[in-house]
């Protein structure tokens, strides 16, 4: 046990040293001592301090609001900023060390094979011991309290105990290296037990704890959100449904001249079951969902839905025909997106159509992929298309293959394919980034017909310049419906068109409302404001 405490002490020493290194003021000339500085009166405190659970979040967060100090703007004692303090039960102090413990455990696990980190840890322990025995300032700076899991009491470690613990630590680190990770796991377990009792400890306010600085707010601010970590083993963990107490200090340019506010609390944080800030999105999804269902059902009933032709999509058929006539392959690039990207999902559909026609025309198809999951899905898509075309025997496993998941290595590979195989048609559909122009220009140099489609705004100009046909933005998603001419898919396109019309109308109404001073106009705009 002493060894565990010793390990904790080392951490606390390191933390204490780093804190003191950050907070100690620089040594200044002694000339300043001789100048008479008039005493600055402390500023007036902030008033109306309120603490409420933060709305529309997952919990572990409290929002503070206050009215500015009357000395916020004027006078010698003008407010320079706010410091926000939260009352920490003693157990919370020990949590701060757990993060370091976790890292140290990883270091020591690595050290078991590398030795170097272990030697460093041993060095720290030996230095701490030497510092302690030689009467150095390390121990004086140490005010470390530990909650034992056996009882709730906290105690300050005495010098003899720390010294013995450090000796034990050095001895154990030297002789029982393999045991270290387990020992630290034991220490972590005792911290976990302490966390279980945090609620109880919070209720002991104002006994057995201290005020800790949790954040700063600028001098003009009147609110602060104290967002804690949701990981119980993290130093800034805020436990939900636990009484929390806050105070806000106003500080002047001289941080020692400050005024504390009244203490606010208890307040409890908790997670919400609905994010009210997202109501506009919620209604938009509902309305758009209904629109889609409505037009799909109309399409199912056989209504004739007109959709304007897109040159880029119509060119796909011609491009495949051209490749067949020339006896050259078709290169299909799915981009750098993952299978979770909607652009890639849309691209799968287009790939299916292209593969079906390729199978019918008995042309060669090359699909180099960037992501292994995309490769697996694309293989299935192409295989099914060959099956649908009635030519399952023509399908080759190597049609769709993985190249690499390094962006420019992928470019090099695909460009190499273009220059070696000289495909008649290159189709780029999906998510593209900096590689778009590298691919498209090489394809243009190779003399291929090129059709591109992406929803990446920044890459669209590059494709427009270097490709023969480009599907801009949403046209990529529409491509599957256009290619198949299936009424159900066309129905969803109609819903999109209506939604766009609604967005245009709302945009114009919003523009007018934003320039009016009428109350209802502001209310109207507020309703479209999505927060969080």
């Amino acid at each position: 046990m002493r060894f565990l405490f010793g390990l904790t002490v080392i951490l606390a020493l390191l933390l204490g040293a780093s804190v003191s290194a950050q907070t100690e003021p620089p040594v200044t000339d002694s000339v300043a001592d001789s100048v008479e500085v008039p005493a600055i009166p402390p500023p007036a405190p902030v008033t109306d301090l309120k603490a409420l659970d933060t709305d529309d979040d997952h919990g572990h967060s409290v929002t503070l609001t206050w009215t500015k100090s009357v000395d916020a703007q004027t006078g010698q004692n003008t407010v320079n900023g706010h410091q926000i303090f939260r009352w920490y039960p003693a157990m919370m102090d020990s949590l701060a060390g757990v993060d370091s413990l976790k890292n140290m455990r990883q270091d020591i696990q690595r050290a078991q094979s590398a030795n170097s980190v272990f030697r460093r840890a041993l060095g720290v322990a030996e230095d701490a011991l030497e510092d302690l025995t030689s009467g150095g300032r390390g121990f004086d700076a140490l005010r470390f309290t530990v909650a034992t899991p056996q009882d709730d009491s906290t105690f300050v470690l005495d010098r003899a105990f720390v010294e013995q613990a450090l000796r034990d630590t050095v001895a154990t680190m030297t002789t029982h290296l393999p045991l270290l990770p387990d020992s630290i796991k034991g220490l972590q377990a005792s911290f976990e037990a302490a966390i279980e009792r945090l609620t109880e400890a919070h209720q002991a306010y104002p006994e057995g704890g201290s005020w800790n600085l949790v954040g700063l707010a600028a001098k003009g601010d009147t609110s602060f959100v104290n967002s804690g970590n949701k990981d119980p083993m993290s130093g800034d963990f805020i436990k939900d449904f636990t009484d929390l107490y806050y105070r806000v200090d106003v500080v002047t340019i001289d941080e020692t001249i400050r005024t504390e506010s009244a203490i606010v609390g208890p307040v409890q944080s908790e997670g919400q079951w609905f994010n009210g800030g997202r109501f506009p999105v919620f209604w938009a999804v509902i309305i758009f969902g209904f629109l889609t269902m409505y037009f799909v059902s109309r399409a199912r009933k056989g209504d004739d839905l007109y959709v304007r032709p897109l040159a880029g999509i119509e060119a796909v058929d011609d491009a495949i025909g051209r490749a067949t006539e020339m006896g050259r392959p078709i290169l299909y690039v799915l981009g750098l997106g993952t299978a979770a990207d909607v652009a890639t999902i849309a691209s799968f559909t287009v790939l299916g159509r292209v593969a079906k026609q390729v199978a019918e025309y008995q042309t060669e198809l090359i699909v180099p992929t960037y992501d292994p999951i995309v490769m697996s899905v694309a293989q299935e898509v192409v295989k099914s298309s060959y099956l649908d075309a009635g030519r399952p025997d023509d399908y080759k496993e190597n049609t769709v293959f993985f190249v690499t998941n390094l962006q420019f290595a992928y470019v090099a590979a695909v460009n190499g394919i273009m220059l070696r195989e000289l495909p008649a048609t290159n189709i780029y559909m999906g998510k593209f980034f900096a590689e778009s122009l590298l691919l498209a220009e090489t394809g243009a140099l190779a003399g291929s017909i090129q059709i591109a489609g992406t929803d990446e705004i920044a890459q669209i100009p590059f494709f427009i310049v270097a490709c023969d046909y480009t599907l801009i933005g949403e046209e990529l998603y529409a491509a599957s419906a256009y290619l198949g001419r299936e009424p159900i898919l066309l129905g969803s396109l109609k819903a999109q068109d209506w939604a766009k019309a609604a967005v245009i109308v709302l945009g114009i109404v919003g523009l007018v409302a934003a320039n009016l001073e009428w109350g209802f106009a502001k209310t109207f705009l507020e309703y479209f404001h999505v927060t969080n």
Binding site: I345, F401, A412, S492
Partner: protein, 271 residues
């Protein structure tokens, strides 16, 4: 059944993803993070499939003697070499038999590929592959200047891994990226040819935006060009971009709904 189960799964998880967007509670967040973890798990397994695919395609190129098939050996040597370097590291400064071990492993790979690709006389490359493998195993057993590290990260910090990554891989990638400058120039030349009214407008707009960065115009002219350039970027350009973004946003929602409701089945190979 083969089609129904994936569709039901997509419906369930798709609806949950919509649900969790509106529910910030920790329980919903926990399920969301749990599901996202599956992406990593599936990704790791898929990577094995990807490596296998790359291996098969490379061997096939050698086998069929496709154009520039020799580069496939470089690909395979790079693939297996980096895997090897990532799992091994020296204990100290001595190299021992390490480099010979690496050479033996790579030669084993090359010889086994040769054996797979050969139509006749497979015995010689197979025998050599076996010989090199034996050499590699003997060195691994008896040479104590280096070790395998499967559970820790020493290999990723090893001299060979770092050297190949920092001094070969990165410069090559940077070279490919730097080609973009030349491609932009050639693409710009093609885009800015004043063939019709719209192309001429594009040329003029582009010239104004480019001239913004010319430092020798003097204060008045420079400021005027900067203002015109800012207007071009912030008004017509941004308006067009936002129109596309709105379209993309609606398209994403529509596609997602189609996928969730099972209308769009292209990702399953059924359009």
């Amino acid at each position: 059944m083969k089609r129904q189960v994936p569709l039901v799964l997509v419906l369930l998880f798709g609806l949950f993803m919509i649900f969790q967007y509106f529910v910030p509670h920790e329980s919903s967040e926990w399920v969301y993070e749990f599901l996202l973890d599956w992406i990593y798990i599936i990704g790791i397994f898929a990577l094995a499939l990807g490596i296998w695919s790359l291996y098969v395609v490379s061997v096939d190129k050698v086998k069929t003697r496709k154009h520039d098939w020799g580069y496939s050996y470089v690909t395979l040597a790079g693939l297996f070499g980096m895997i090897l370097f990532g799992f091994t590291a020296r204990h100290g400064d001595e190299w021992g038999w390490y480099l010979i071990f690496v050479a033996c492993v790579l030669l084993t790979v090359i010889m086994s590929v040769q054996a797979m690709a050969a139509r006749i006389n497979k015995g010689l490359p197979l025998g050599l592959a076996g010989l090199f493998l034996l050499g590699a195993v003997l060195i691994a057993v008896f040479d104590d200047t280096w070790s395998f590290y499967f559970y820790t990260q020493e290999g990723l910090q090893s001299t060979m891994f770092r050297a190949f990554f920092d001094y070969i891989m990165m410069p090559i990638l940077a070279t490919i990226f730097s080609l973009l400058a030349f491609f932009i120039a050639s693409a710009a030349y093609r885009a800015f040819r004043a063939r019709n009214l719209l192309a001429s407008l594009l040329l003029i707009a582009a010239l104004i935006v480019m001239m913004r960065f010319f430092p020798y115009f003097g204060e008045n002219v420079g400021e005027f060009i900067a203002r015109v350039s800012s207007w071009l970027m912030n008004v017509p350009n941004l308006a067009a971009q936002r129109a596309i973004i709105i379209g993309v946003g609606l398209g994403i929602v529509a596609t997602a709904l189609k996928v969730i409701l099972g209308i769009e089945r292209g990702y399953m190979g059924k359009g």
